[in-house]
Structure formats: structure tokens, C-alpha cells
């Protein structure tokens, strides 16, 4: 899932390690999420968004999320 974490981090001047500490995960976990390789759980997505003072939709892009099979 695409996201704006890298851009938002740069705006705040935070390193991956700093964001990781704020949301209580490891630095490599933030790297995996930031690169769109790992989709975070809803609680973690909320924690990340909260740290940027934004909503989940403003941080994570849902355009490449596959719709549920009908």
C-alpha cells in the first residue's frame, strides 16, 4: 500500500528511528511500511497518522487496495 510517510517524515525532520520510537515499532518495520512492502494493522496505521496529526486516509493511499471479491 502506497503512503506518504517518507514525505511527512521529511517535513517534520524525523528519521525513521525517531518515528519508530514514537509509534513503538522497530526502525526496519517503519522502513518496510514506508516502502509499501508491508501493510500495517489498523491500530499501527492510526498511531502513525496520529503522530503526523493527520487522518489515516491522508497518510495511506487506498487506490491500490484490491476490492473484496463479490
Amino acid at each position: 500500500m502506497k503512503n506518504r510517510i517518507r514525505v511527512l517524515r521529511a517535513e517534520k525532520g524525523w528519521s525513521q528511528a525517531e518515528l519508530a520510537e514514537r509509534v513503538r515499532v522497530s526502525r526496519n518495520s517503519i522502513n518496510a511500511i514506508e516502502n509499501g512492502r508491508f501493510d500495517p494493522s489498523l491500530p499501527l496505521a492510526f498511531r502513525i497518522a496520529d503522530n503526523f496529526g493527520l487522518s489515516v486516509e491522508e497518510v495511506f493511499d487506498k487506490t491500490d487496495v484490491k476490492p473484496a471479491a463479490s
Binding site: R24, V25, S26, R27, N28, S29, I33, R37, F38, L44
Partner: protein, 164 residues
Amino acid sequence: MTKRVVGKFGRLALLLLPVVFVVAGLLVAMPWVKQQNPAVAKFVGEVGVIFVACYGIFVVLRQQRRMDEVHLASQGFANSYGWLWGGVATIFLLLVPPVMNWLVDLVNATVKARGAGAPDTTNHLAVQLAFFYGISLVMLMQGLGVCVASVVWWRRMGGLGEKS
């Protein structure tokens, strides 16, 4: 950061210390244990093995509590594929004649060193040792498989991230 890394390894070392004490204690007490009744020696050995196994489970559960969701997913991937890869690798390894011959020679040499029967005849100790070495090889290969699968997972996840 250095302090944190030292702290992390220090905590792990502290966690593993009881196992080191028990194993070292058993090794030191070995001459005394051998002089005792075989039932006592067997009991001491079994208590040691059960302690190490239970403590291993405790350490794994404790470490798991500290993991975040990406690490838990990594562990799930590494376990599901690593155990399989390790098992398959062991089967292929045992198909290679030199490896199988080396294991047979190892069992024979150990049996001979302990003076328990001729090396070319099957006996209780030889069967026990064959099981022990066989299971050890499977565990070693599965451990390696888990490590390889873990590396594969983190490479797929884009590496370890930027240096801080």
C-alpha cells in the same frame, strides 16, 4: 544508540545466563554423577534437559512479547518456510554418500570410543546415537533454514532502513 545495542545484547545475555550455569554445572558435576547410581545419573541428566527445554520456551515467549507486527510476520514467514527448507535440505544432504558415510562413521567412532560393542554391529547405544545425530542434523538444518528465510523476508521488506 550504542548504549541501546549493548543494553539489548546485555539483556539477552542475562536471559541466557541460567542455561549457561545449568549446563556448566552439569559438565562440572559429570565426574561425580558418573560415580552415582545409574538411576540418579539418568535423573540428573533428565532434569537438566527438561530445565533447558522449558527455559528455552520461556525465553522465546518473552522475546516474542517485545516484537512488533512486522517482526511477528517475519517470524511467521521464517518458521513456515525455514522448517520446510531445512527438512528438505536434510533429506538432500543425506542422499549425498559422503555425508551419510560421515554420519555412520561418527556413530561408529563414538560407540567404539565408549567401548560399547564392535563398530560393525548394531547395538542400543549405536541406535541412540544415530537418532541423536540425525535429529541434531535436522535441527541444525532447520535452524539454518529459518535464518535464510528471515534474511529473504527482510530483503523483500526493503532491507533494514536508513542508518540512524
